[in-house]
């Protein structure tokens, strides 16, 4: 059926994963129950199917069982059990990924970590906080309300922060605040055999409470007392960076220490329409070269703007559009606004109408964040596939223009939206999964786009991860040596290939 054809497409997009599903050993489910308790283990079909897919179009691959550990000790015991019995393990946060990262292609046990949801060790002076996998980014920012701090990485979905660390997520604010990688200071990882690893060092478990040593007393909430993380370290290999973006193939990220940022004093957002795609993208490059510290700069082509306007009920002109946001102090903001206006005018852009109230800004960004659903609404009943290439800024205008021409030549519906400030853009390809010819055209287009990005010195995946579908492109990007090195590291940490098998490598 449609799903199987889509799986065929998924297989064509990458080396077909080994879908061998060995049945679970006898009494295994009982052993799981003994660790976490009966209510926290399920083999029900509906539950397994719910945990076998994410927001991508990869066919659902349900695990054989789902477990809900309540504490890191239980994660360790369960992992050790699965390791002994050679059962595959798949970590699960919110299931909002876009590359099939949670699909249990070899069956096994899905570890739903959402019940571990402690926010601890909030240090307002050191700008850091520790979160478990059940904490989503909106929940964290809500918790931080009133402290003057926020966590700016914003991939659109309300994703689990540890899940964002696992996929190396990014978002609209990356151009100013960075992606997950620089914002993760420490990770508490459960390795495949159940051992516990702190990537930037343990020894911060001292449960003493010296007053004023970075412990949070805001609003009466006192976090667990430990030493706050330091900013710089040159001690040993960078394990934190290794696990960020590992997509659940090296271990379970059961806790992340995150870097927080001060909230901007003043914020202003605007749209700007341009006569052509090239003009819009060139404007972006010039804004960055002028060192305007823009907080968000997003591109939408005319198809995307039309779809988003209709979906969100706003009435925007249907043309290549940039959505810009500036953060700063009151004075600094006024200067940034002047600079931006000048560059936009130089590129033939429209005049800017700045929105400063939270309600108006919220409406504009809600419009942008609903792009995926707005695109799907263009052709109801169809599937969606998002490309995710990222190229150096200098090559961006050419790559975007060529891609647009390729889309039109291929006769595909693919509104383009992107974090052009990072050189990253997405084509949201909407296609009829029942039509093999169209599915083939989508596949060919995605391959060409990936190769075009690699030829321009970029990457096939800027922020969504490799997951199931981009493994072939990973080989082209890293080369054989690169891939072999990744395989050696994987073999060192997970010799039996039990952690999320079939992904990345």
């Amino acid at each position: 059926m449609a799903l199987r054809r889509v799986l065929g497409l998924g297989g064509a997009l990458g080396r077909r994963s080994c879908c061998s599903k060995r049945p679970l050993p006898p009494d295994f489910v009982e052993a799981l129950r003994a660790v976490v308790g009966g209510p926290n283990v399920s083999t029900a079909m509906a539950v397994c199917e719910q945990h076998g897919h994410d927001e991508s179009m990869h066919a659902c691959a349900p695990p054989d069982a789902v477990v809900w550990p309540q504490a890191v000790g239980q994660v360790q015991e369960l992992a050790a059990l699965c390791y002994r019995c050679r059962v595959p393990m798949v970590p699960f946060g919110t299931g909002t990924g876009l590359e099939g990262g949670v699909n249990a292609v070899q069956g096994g046990v899905c570890f739903d970590l959402s019940r571990m949801d402690a926010i601890a060790e909030l240090s307002l002076e050191d700008f850091s906080v520790t979160v478990e996998p059940g904490v989503t980014r909106k929940a964290l920012n809500s918790h931080l309300r009133g402290t003057g701090l926020w966590f700016p990485v914003d991939p659109g979905a309300d994703a689990s922060l540890c899940g964002m660390a696992a996929t190396g997520a990014s978002g609209t604010n990356a151009v100013r605040y960075g992606t997950m990688r620089p914002n993760v200071l420490n990770l508490r990882v459960v390795l495949p055999d159940g051992r516990l690893l702190h990537t930037a060092g343990p020894g911060r478990q001292a449960r003493w409470a010296p007053e004023g040593l970075g412990c949070a007393r805001w609003g009466g909430h006192v976090g667990a007392h430990s030493l706050p993380p330091c900013r710089k370290r040159a001690a040993g290999y960078d394990l934190t960076s290794l696990f960020v973006g590992s997509e659940g193939t090296l271990g379970f990220l059961t806790q992340a220490t995150l870097r927080l940022h001060p909230l901007p004093e003043a914020t202003a957002t605007t749209t700007a329409t341009f006569p052509s795609v090239r003009a819009a993208v060139s404007c972006t490059v010039q804004v960055l070269q002028a060192a305007v510290p823009v907080a968000r700069i997003e591109f939408l082509d005319e198809v995307m703007v039309g779809a988003c306007s209709r979906f969100s009920g706003l009435e925007l002109p249907v043309a290549a559009t940039l959505l810009l946001e500036l953060h700063g102090s009151q004075h600094g903001l006024a200067e940034q606004q002047r600079q931006a206006e000048e560059i936009v005018r130089l590129n033939g852009g429209s005049s800017l109408a700045w929105a400063e109230e939270p309600e108006e800004r919220g409406r504009l960004w809600a419009m942008r964040h609903s792009a995926w659903y707005a695109a799907l609404a263009l052709r109801p009943g169809c599937q969606g596939y998002s490309t995710d290439v990222c190229v150096p800024i200098s090559r961006l205008p050419n790559v975007v223009v060529e891609t647009k021409r390729d889309l039109q030549d291929s006769g595909l519906t693919g509104p383009m939206v992107g974090h052009v400030g990072d050189g990253n853009f997405h084509c949201l390809l909407i296609f009829n999964a029942q039509d093999p010819a169209e599915a083939q055209r989508v596949h060919a287009f995605a391959q060409r786009l990936g190769r075009r990005a690699l030829a321009a010195g970029g990457t096939c995946t800027g922020e969504h991860g490799v997951g199931l579908g981009k493994r072939a492109l990973l080989l082209e990007e890293l080369g054989q040596e690169g891939l072999d090195t990744l395989r050696r590291i994987k073999a060192a940490l997970d010799p039996h290939n039990l952690m999320n098998p079939g992904k990345v490598l």
Binding site: A139, S142, H143, R145, G146, T147, G148, L149, W150, W218, G219, G220, H221, P262, L263, P264, E265, S329, E357, P358, E359, G362
Partner: protein, 246 residues
Amino acid sequence: MAGLRVLVGVKRVIDYAVKTQGVKHSLNPFCEIALEEGVRLRERGAAAEVVAVSVGTRVCQETLRTALALGADRGVLVEVGEGAAVGPREAAAALAGLAGRLRPHLVLLGKQAIDDDCNQTGQLLAAMLDWPQGTFASRVEPEGEWVRVQREVDGGLETLRLRLPAVLTADLRLNEPRYATLPNIMKAKKKPLEVVAASEFLGGGSPPAPPRLRVLKLEEPPPRGGGQRVDDVPALLERLRASGCI
């Protein structure tokens, strides 16, 4: 009449996102909306001063500091003794007493607190002061000696014009409150915060009498029992009859 003095009531409540352990308190969300409206009035030039008030124990100073960080000019804590019950009547009486002293032109309150959901303080206060009231406000426009208020009511939207001084209570769609930024949090530490004993307003003269409400019992609803499967419709009817549902 530009240069209004605006009094905003802020209540310290259990944070809406909290689970049972580690009880976290924060500023009542509807009070935040009221405060945001007061600050916007000042930023537009319609108000000259925004005073945040809280009625409670000393720990409510934290809530007032948050209000100061969100833009209030000064704070007043009407302090009650430890363990004293502060319900809507007590809060309204304290605010009425304070209004007599500070003489604001406008009192902005949240429509209700998220811990008791009473939705009474604004209305009681207006009655005690004999001032006009505009509750569930979704839009506030000062017009000289009057204020035009759009209210969210069951049938839709109602617009009133009230003579100042007046009491307004804020509803959800009045505005979207700002977040406190670090520079504002630091500035807030230096803004004046006065502590006044509640006995000054709740002792002689005006009410309240001893609390009229006593909490007898507070319990969670019973946990949901498991469902049961039956094989066919007659069995379903049998079960329903047996349990007295039909």
